[in-house]
């Protein structure tokens, strides 16, 4: 029996700005199982970024409930939120969000630094992950010396190093050309094959088509949640 990694029930979230209140998430309910690969689609303003922030414990919600790997995520202090993010979630962003003055190894090792892993151990592990991403020769280069695809692979290595339960990817191919996009998607699929749940927020149908399940948001509610009929597993696995 598979276990749910994300369980969201009747989730509400409003942004209050002075007298105006913007109701962004209007009672979302969804369940993502361990090891699933899901894309969340929606036009801008549909609430998908807000949902991603809530799922990533980067933002609070107003009502409903959110369980991450069975743990209730409620209003918590930042220290605790930081620890959960570090342990359970790997982030991949559209704009990579690498630290510009740190080289590849240091960037990848950063989550382990915040776990208190010793310097030698975390650098060894970072090298190993860089190797898996095919970036071993680039280990001591700065992000600015890497191509877009390399940067995103670096970011994926960083997301993976803390052995998270799931990866939240926010438009992971948004800044990449189509060839590189394909490569990155293949990589994400490979990662997913190792049992890590993958939640990809995107507005591109082409990307969504490569995930097993597609959740469409519109105006803060789930419009559709269906298994992708066209989904193909990787040919070589």
């Amino acid at each position: 029996m598979s276990k749910s990694i994300i369980r969201v029930e009747a989730l509400h979230k409003s942004y209050v700005n002075g007298k105006n209140s913007l109701h962004v998430l209007k009672g979302l309910t969804m369940n993502i199982q361990e090891g699933e690969m899901v894309s969340i689609m929606g036009s801008s303003g549909s609430g998908k970024s807000t949902l991603l922030n809530v799922l990533g414990i980067l933002d609070n919600y107003d009502a409903g409930s959110y369980h991450l790997d069975g743990i209730p995520i409620t209003r918590m202090n930042e220290t605790k939120a930081a620890r959960y993010r570090n342990q359970y979630i790997g982030f991949v962003f559209q704009s990579f969000n690498l630290i510009s003055f740190k080289n590849a190894v240091e960037n990848v090792a950063l989550p382990l630094y915040y776990q208190g892993v010793s310097r030698k151990k975390r650098n060894d592990l970072a090298l190993e992950y860089l190797g898996r991403m095919g970036l071993r020769e680039w280990a001591h280069h700065l992000p600015s010396e890497l191509s877009g695809g390399q940067k995103q692979r670096l970011a994926i290595a960083r997301a993976l190093i803390s052995k998270p339960k799931m990866i939240l990817a926010d438009e992971p191919t948004g800044a990449l050309d189509s060839q590189t996009s394909r490569e990155v998607m293949e990589l994400l699929k490979e990662v997913n094959q190792t049992g890590i749940a993958m939640v990809i927020v995107t507005h591109e149908n082409e990307i969504a088509a490569q995930t097993r399940r597609i959740i469409r948001l519109r105006d803060g509610i789930i419009e559709s949640d269906e298994v992708n009929a066209d989904f193909q597993t990787l040919p070589n696995t």
């Binding site: 980067l58 930081a82 704009s95 003055f101 950063l110 915040y114 803390s162």
Partner: protein
């Protein structure tokens, strides 16, 4: 720890010039503080140097002339101390440790050794004198009780007199003519504050018998058994009224006696120096505050520039506290390194000044009584270090709080 250092160094390396300029203001503040404190110490040491030849709780009394008519006696009468004064003070008053009388022979007495001779002031003393006016013994011995009891014709000379009369010869045991009478040299002394001091000292009893023929004394000197200014003043008053009764002058008469209470002068001077030191600290801290504001300013800009990076760190699991630590340790690092350099530089300048002053003293020894050995000791360095750490933490506090309050979502979307 190493990780911290690396984090700090990488960010500082990105903005070397800025880090140096920021550090400079702190270094300058500490430099000024050290120089000022060292100079304050120099002034105080100078004063203390001038007092090295006298016991801290000494009271010296010179006779004067009465200025008030008292018990039918006219004013303008000269007071004359005698041996009896010393004996009675010792016997009747509490709180006196040593008391002694001194007799100066008529102004200048020719001292003759072989063909060398010169005129000097000869002082007739008792052994207690050495416990009140402090002298260094260079050679031989000082005058002792037996010399006094037997009225021996012995003589202790200052080093500078010995150099003039004897040149390189050993003076101990040699006979020197004092005003035509032979005295045996038993010791060579040196004044700790004044190398050129010229004292020729003989036993009081000998001086009175051979040259004066009476029991007269030129002045009185005593040390009290007390260490506080109040108790010393008390003894001074008791001695004054005791002498007033004995020599029949009014208690109110300020001109009958001239009293120099060492502890009173020392305490007054120390009060001035304490005030000076407080003033220096205030000025120094104000200067450092200017530096702190500079560092704080730069750190705020730095945090603003690093908003995105700090947001990324937080998304990856950095707790607010670790971000605070990052900013605080950076500010601490800048202030500590810069401050330490300022401190070293300040100490170096003080040391250099000491070396130069030592050369100046050779030409002009009196300067030592004004400004001597300007230095910042360990205590000063420690206080400065404490100030530095406090400054660093203070400078980093506001920027660190700002950094800790960065929200990762906002930072991540801050393109």
């Amino acid at each position: 720890m190493l990780d911290y250092l690396e984090e700090i160094l990488t960010t500082l390396k990105q903005n070397k010039l800025r880090a140096i300029m920021t550090g400079f203001s702190v270094a300058w503040g500490i430099f000024m503080l050290i120089i000022l404190l060292g100079s304050g110490n120099g002034l105080q040491n100078g004063m203390e140097f001038g007092l090295r030849d006298i016991a801290q709780n000494a009271i010296q009394i010179w006779p004067g002339r009465t200025s008030i008519e008292h018990e039918g006696l006219n004013k303008g009468r000269r007071i004359q101390f005698t041996n009896e004064d010393v004996e009675l003070l010792q016997r009747d008053l509490q709180g006196i440790k040593d008391v002694t009388g001194r007799l100066y022979l008529w102004s200048e007495v020719p001292l003759t050794y072989k063909n060398e001779y010169s005129d000097y002031t000869v002082t007739c003393i008792t052994p207690a004198y050495y416990r009140i006016r402090l002298q260094d013994l260079v050679k031989g011995r000082f005058i002792n009780e037996n010399d006094l009891k037997e009225s021996r014709k012995v003589l202790v000379l200052s080093k500078s007199i010995v150099e003039q009369l004897f040149g390189d010869e050993d003076p101990i045991g040699e006979l020197v003519k004092v005003g035509g009478i032979h005295f045996k040299v038993i010791g060579v002394s040196a004044n700790p504050t004044d190398e050129s001091a010229k004292d020729a000292m003989i036993p009081l009893s000998t001086g009175q018998r051979v040259f004066n023929g009476s029991h007269n004394l030129s002045n009185l000197a005593l040390t009290t058994s007390y260490q506080t200014i109040a108790e010393n003043k008390q003894v001074e008053e008791e001695v004054r009224s005791f002498l007033a009764r004995r020599h029949r002058f009014s208690d109110e008469d300020q001109e009958a006696l001239n009293v120099w209470n060492t502890m009173e002068s020392v305490t007054q001077a120390q009060g001035v120096f304490n005030g000076l030191r407080l003033f220096i600290w205030v000025v120094g801290i104000m200067t450092i505050i200017a530096g702190i504001v500079g560092v704080s300013n730069i750190m705020i800009i730095l945090v603003k520039e690093r908003t995105k990076e700090l947001g990324i760190r937080k998304a990856l699991g950095a707790s607010p506290w670790s971000v605070v630590q990052l900013v605080l340790s950076e500010s601490l690092f800048i202030t500590a390194v810069a401050g330490f350099m300022g401190m070293l530089l300040g100490m170096g300048v003080l040391h250099g000044a000491s070396v130069i002053l030592r050369q100046v003293y050779e030409g002009n020894p009196n300067i030592r009584n004004i400004f001597y050995n300007p230095s910042a000791d360990f205590g000063v360095a420690l206080s400065a270090a404490v100030v530095l750490v406090a400054a660093g933490l203070l400078a980093g506090f506001i920027p660190a709080r700002k950094a800790a309050s960065i929200k990762p979502i906002e930072a991540l979307h801050d393109e």
